[in-house]
């Protein structure tokens, strides 16, 4: 992972600041940096979103394809994740340098999103046991400036919100053969319910306190971090400790509580923003990558 060199003096400065709830860039411990979200940025996907958080930038594209349901859950569709750590983000990712991080990220994303409590997987079923929609979620890291998990999760939620799956009908003929028929109206499509889709909040323990949305410098001072995925109701769906270092039970508890609080507060403005953008329809001026 992209890292910065931090001198002892800097470390002390950051540590002391956080102890007093004042971070280097002026934020409090539970504040996020400036976040920008834009959906429908890649036209050849079924849903896409671009999120920038500070200088961290991620792009998520979702492609819906027809596949076969998993045998254990014949009436559900599923999601597939792939995280591409582009060398654009940081030179360390060049070659196969980003592979390990990519796998780690996508494994976490499976845990967080690919279950029926997060996404309504039943609505992805086309015909039980035969056809279902598979959503390929492709994450592209454009720039790394700390707190990848949070940025990715917000982008995924926005992209899922934006996803338009073409509506299909199953027509059965006399002999029981089934044929998938596509609606010929491009506007006739299915939307996903993203209400329960969680967001990830990463908490980094710095000194005796913890911060959300750590910058790279803060990250360098952190002992350990915990990721918590939280729904809009404040339900924790997944927690995971990442990185080295250890956490005592008490601070885990404290961090979970803080994560719940922050996560819950994150959903409402996000949904409001997405709905606002949607309602603009075609009048919406696209910013894209050059904005």
């Amino acid at each position: 992972m992209a890292a910065v060199q931090v001198s002892e003096a800097e470390k002390v400065y950051i540590l002391h600041g956080i102890r007093d709830d004042l971070r280097v860039d002026g934020r409090g411990c539970e504040d996020y940096r400036h976040m920008e979200i834009e959906t429908d940025v890649v036209s050849n996907t079924d849903g896409s979103a671009k999120v920038t958080l500070g200088h961290t930038a991620v792009l998520v594209g979702i492609k819906a394809e027809i596949g076969k349901p998993r045998p254990m859950v014949p009436d559900e569709g599923y999601l597939e994740f792939f995280v591409d750590c582009s060398a654009n983000a940081t030179p360390e990712f060049e070659g196969r340098g980003g592979e390990e991080l990519g796998t780690e990220l996508s494994n976490t994303l499976y845990k967080v999103f690919n279950n029926k409590h997060s996404v309504d997987l039943k609505s992805l079923c086309i015909s039980t046991g035969e056809h279902c929609w598979v959503l390929y979620v492709d994450v592209l890291l454009l720039q790394c400036d700390g707190n990848l998990y949070d940025a990715i999760s917000v982008a995924i939620k926005a992209a899922l919100f934006n996803t338009k799956i073409p509506r299909v009908h199953i027509s059965a003929d006399d002999e029981g053969g089934k044929e998938i028929e596509l609606s010929d109206d491009p506007y006739d499509c299915m939307r996903l319910n993203v209400e329960n889709v969680p967001c990830i909040v990463t908490l980094c323990k710095v000194g005796h306190r913890h911060v959300v949305d750590a910058t790279l410098q803060e990250k360098a001072c952190s002992v350990a971090s915990l990721i918590i995925s939280v729904t809009h109701k404040g339900t924790v769906t997944c927690t995971r400790k990442v990185g080295g270092g250890s956490l005592d039970p008490e601070s885990i508890f404290e961090m979970t509580e803080a994560g719940k609080r922050v996560g819950k507060a994150l959903h409402a403005p996000l949904m409001k923003l997405l709905q606002q953008e949607e309602s603009l329809g075609k009048k919406h001026q696209k910013v894209g990558f050059l904005g």
Partner: protein
């Protein structure tokens, strides 16, 4: 400006794919009008004074037809009267998507300068591009796009200051909804019919209008005559599950209530399903691809031996039922065939049909029946006001549709070809009917011809062997200008003989893939009609540069053998060469040289050597079981001024004919072996399958009736038994038998060696065969030349040559063209025979019974090589007592029994009472059967004039 177009598509594997295309809008698309001063266009298409006399639109105007108008009324649009039309890109794209033939015709019109058709690319125009809105169907969007374009035009032309009157645009649409919306937005809009009918000066255009749905209702009663066709989705499901069969509809030539559907199975496993009765035919038209359902086994029937023609005026339904009953005569169980009914049409193959009009008996009626020249196509009901002028003319008619309640399909008049009986017209008809491409070669094709004056360059010589010193000569029929083969024979120092077959090197001039090559591949073969040749390659090649004429240097592809005096091949080699033919002889001239013992020049010696070897080769071939079959070929003596036939005789064969033939066969076999060895997967070969034993039934029965035994176990057995089949006092018997045997044979076909395993050529008794020797007139030979050239390293290859699927598709086209050219040739001979008999009046001739049918005998007149039918149940006479025995087969008419080979005397005359199908009529003179035969008339010297004003 950039827009993106997004749509979802189903992939072949059943997935769904989202496709995004970039779409650029521009501001430099001009309107194409002469009167416009704003647009910075270099040349204009649409005229300033776009006037057409119309009582609806008396002002100058441009037309904008919508998609359906173009699709259905293309015949009207093609008319020279209709000019200054704007074809909107949306329409062009939709037409292209929905009908390839109409698209091609539309493109042709657009390219024609005098038509002033302008394509407006509205989809890329900044102001006329429309995006599909939620809830809008694709059709609605396209209609809107057309309206927006029309609106743009009407405003654009109004603002052009140069023209104070202002040109107007008229939108043509037959869609009521579209029309209303257009009117709402203030456009001038008319239905196509309305507009065409308003053209005061050109009333004949109305006839070319295709019938639209609401017109059809008036035509016939609402009684449903036919069962409904199933929708395509159910047909496909049925075919998948095996309850329906898909096949090509083939109407019977002799009986309009009968058809077969040829179902292509896997490999050799193809079946034929019989259809009988109007209900079961269910509006199938010859060559349509249809879905059939088999009837239960107890309803299966046998094909009837009746000859039944749909004649007379439009029929009532009662008469139909009676005819149906005639068909339902119980047949022997064994003769029954799988019988079915048409449940749906998968693909119509309607094309414009040639034929003639049956003028309705009711005066003032504008609805008439049209009888196609091809008897397998049903009669078509058309609407026309020019019936009086069209009667007696050959016309073309296109089918528009066949509603359930109509006995006949509905169609419209396309164009007139000229008056019937006219030689030019008839030739045009038979070329069109046999799908022979006969237009002049296009400029694109001609551009690939070598530049004249042409000569052989030193570069050409590098890869070629110089054979100019050899005494090569060609032997062909008189008047032949496309000489594609030449021969030589000389003695070598070692006492052996060197024999060379030199074939015109056409593949040197026709390079793969260019327009010339594609045109030749499409034409497939040169078609020889009486007095006319339709070339496969332009004349410069066929009659000059490729033709191996005497005393000029020509490029050739040579096949050279070293043989001993027993005609055993010791060595074979192939090479590209340059030759200089020393003489172009006719068969007769060559024969004279050989026979004239006083001549000892090189050419004659060479010919004698060839002749000697050919005799040995022929003997060997016959020993191996090659068949010598017979068919009568007729040659007309044509009057040099009127081009009318003045006499006809059957072709004579000379020794030299067979001499040339032997060496051609030998070259073909040698080349076939070579290309197959070299390219086992993609060699173009020719096979002649052995006929199924049942084909010989008629031959065996016929022979048995004269107590002669014929063995058909193998080609050899057949050849031998034909040789010994003789009946005393009946010298012509053997020829008749051979004619019959020819009829039992299968068609020889081209095929690609990688797609088939059976290569045998039955007739020639050769394990492998191809066509190499006539590249000027057959495309297959060009392919074989290319393969051979690659094999010997004289030329480079190209991908399509090695693609067995493409080769196979090509072979199918060649087979089709070849078959059609033979039919066209036969039709041409038949037409000239009719011309001949027209000038001769009535003749009495001797003939032989060739076939016996239930109600007729078919008689062969050897003198003219003519076959005709003597019917015993004519409409105006009482039918005599007929007893048909299938075993014989014999037909007992009153007291007399007819068997195959019976000698009869008939009168021959031209029956021109029905000018649509003039035919040779034969009536019986001898044997005399009271009430059936006619008294022998005196031969009338004067000719009857055809009644043209009927």
């Amino acid at each position: 400006m950039l827009k993106s177009k997004t749509f979802v598509k189903k992939t072949r594997s059943g997935g769904v794919m989202k496709i995004v295309r970039e779409h650029y809008l521009r501001d430099d698309i001009w309107c194409g009008s002469e009167s416009c001063s704003e647009c910075k266009q270099e040349s204009t298409v649409l005229q300033r004074d776009a006037c057409i006399e119309s009582n609806l639109c008396p002002y100058a105007h441009y037309l904008i037809p919508d998609t359906n108008v173009v699709l259905h009324q293309i015949d009207v649009l093609e008319d020279p009267v209709i000019r200054n039309v704007i074809i909107v890109q949306t329409v062009l794209q939709e037409v292209r998507h929905r009908s390839a033939p109409v698209y091609k015709r539309l493109k042709d019109i657009i390219h024609e300068k005098e038509k002033h058709f302008y394509t407006f690319t509205n989809e890329h125009h900044n102001e006329t591009f429309v995006e599909r809105e939620p809830g809008e169907s694709a059709n609605d969007r396209n209609d809107r796009a057309i309206r927006v374009a029309a609106k743009w035009y009407s405003q654009h032309l109004k603002t052009s200051k140069s023209d104070p009157d202002g040109l107007k645009v008229v939108l043509l649409t037959n869609d009521q909804g579209n029309k209303e919306k257009a009117e709402e937005s203030g456009l001038l809009v008319y239905k196509c019919e309305e507009y065409i009918k308003s053209l005061i000066a050109n009333p004949e255009l109305v006839d070319q209008l295709a019938l639209s749905n609401d017109d059809k209702n008036e035509i016939t009663s609402s009684k449903m005559l036919f069962p409904e066709h199933l929708p395509l989705s159910r047909i496909q499901a049925g075919i998948k599950s095996g309850s329906f069969l898909q096949g090509t509809f083939r109407a019977s030539r002799d009986n309009y209530l009968e058809a077969t559907v040829f179902v292509q199975g896997e490999g050799e496993d193809s079946t034929e399903v019989l259809l009988q009765g109007l209900q079961n035919l269910n509006r199938g038209v010859h060559q349509d691809v249809v879905a059939v359902q088999l009837l239960p086994r107890d309803q299966w029937v046998a094909p009837s031996s009746f000859v039944l023609q749909d004649e007379g005026a439009a029929k009532d339904d009662d008469a139909e039922e009676e005819e149906d009953r005639v068909l339902r005569i119980s047949a022997a169980e064994a003769a029954r065939k799988p019988t079915g009914k048409v449940v749906g049409i998968i693909k119509r193959s309607w094309r414009p049909f040639c034929g003639m009009l049956n003028v309705s008996h009711i005066k003032e009626s504008t609805r008439h029946l049209f009888t196609p020249a091809d008897r397998r196509v049903p009669r078509i009901r058309i609407e026309t006001r020019q019936a009086a002028t069209l009667a007696g003319q050959r016309i073309m008619v296109a089918i528009d549709g066949w509603p359930r309640h109509s006995r006949y399909p509905n169609g419209h008049f396309v164009r007139s070809l000229g008056s019937a009986g006219d030689k030019e017209t008839e030739q045009e008809v038979l070329l069109l009917e046999h799908d022979v491409p006969h237009q002049a070669f296009s400029q694109a094709v001609l551009s690939f011809l070598p530049k004249m004056p042409w000569s052989i360059t030193p570069e050409d010589m590098v890869k070629r062997e110089d054979l100019r010193h050899l005494t090569v000569c060609s032997v062909d029929p008189p008047g032949c200008t496309d000489i594609d083969d030449a021969l030589h024979c000389r003695e070598l120092d070692n006492g052996n003989l060197e024999v060379g077959v030199h074939i015109a090197d056409v593949s040197h001039f026709i390079r793969p893939g260019n327009a010339l090559d594609k045109e030749a591949a499409n034409r497939g073969t040169t078609v020889y009609l009486c007095g006319k040749r339709i070339d496969m390659v332009p004349e410069l090649l066929s009659s000059n540069l490729c033709s191996l004429r005497s005393d000029v240097e020509r490029m050739a592809f040579s096949c050279i053998w070293e043989m001993n005096h027993k005609a055993e091949i010791l060595k074979t080699r192939f090479t590209k060469s340059v030759i200089n033919s020393k003489a172009s002889l006719t068969y007769a001239e060559a024969q004279m040289r050989i026979d004239d013992t006083t001549r000892t020049d090189d050419i004659t010696k060479s010919l004698r050597g060839l002749n000697k070897l050919a005799k040995i080769l022929k003997k060997q071939r016959i020993q191996n079981g090659a068949l010598t079959l017979s068919s009568l070929e007729v040659r007309f003596h044509i009057d040099s001024e009127t081009h009318d036939p003045i006499d006809l005789q059957t072709k004579e064969l000379m020794e030299t004919n067979s001499m040339v033939e032997e060496f051609m066969l030998l070259a073909n076999i040698s080349v076939a072996q070579k290309i197959y060895d070299e390219f086992p997967d993609c060699a173009m070969l020719r096979k002649h399958p052995a006929p199924p034993p049942s084909n010989y039934d008629i031959l065996l029965k016929a022979a048995k009736s004269k107590a002669v035994e014929i063995h058909t176990d193998s080609a050899k057995a057949l050849a031998d038994s034909l040789d010994v089949a003789k009946v005393d006092n009946f010298p012509y018997f053997n020829t008749l038998l051979r004619i019959l045997a020819t009829r039992c044979m299968m068609q020889a076909v081209y095929f690609c060696s990688g797609m088939d395993s059976d290569f045998h050529h039955y007739g020639l008794a050769s394990p492998i065969y191809t066509h190499f020797t006539s590249p000027i007139r057959r495309y297959a030979d060009i392919i074989v030349h290319r393969l051979l050239a690659v094999a010997i390293g004289a030329d480079s290859t190209y991908p399509d040559l090695m693609d067995k699927h493409k080769q196979s598709a090509l072979a199918n086209n060649l087979n089709y063209r070849h078959k059609m050219s033979q039919y066209a040739q036969r039709a041409s001979v038949a037409f000239h025979t009719q011309l001949f008999f027209k000038s001769r009046g009535i003749l009495n001739e001797e003939g032989f019974v060739l076939f016996v049918r239930k109600n007729a005998i078919i008689v062969l007149i050897p003198r003219f090589g003519l076959e005709g039918t003597v019917f015993f149940d004519t409409k105006d006479k009482a039918t005599p007592n007929l007893v048909f025995d299938e075993e014989g087969p014999t037909l007992k008419v009153e007291q007399h029994t007819f068997c195959i080979f019976d000698k009869v005397k008939v009168t021959i005359s031209l029956d021109d009472s029905n000018i649509q199908h003039q035919k040779i009529r034969m009536s019986l003179i001898d044997p005399v059967i009271p009430g059936v035969s006619v008294p022998a008339p005196d031969v009338e010297p004067q000719a009857k004039k055809p009644k043209l004003d009927r």
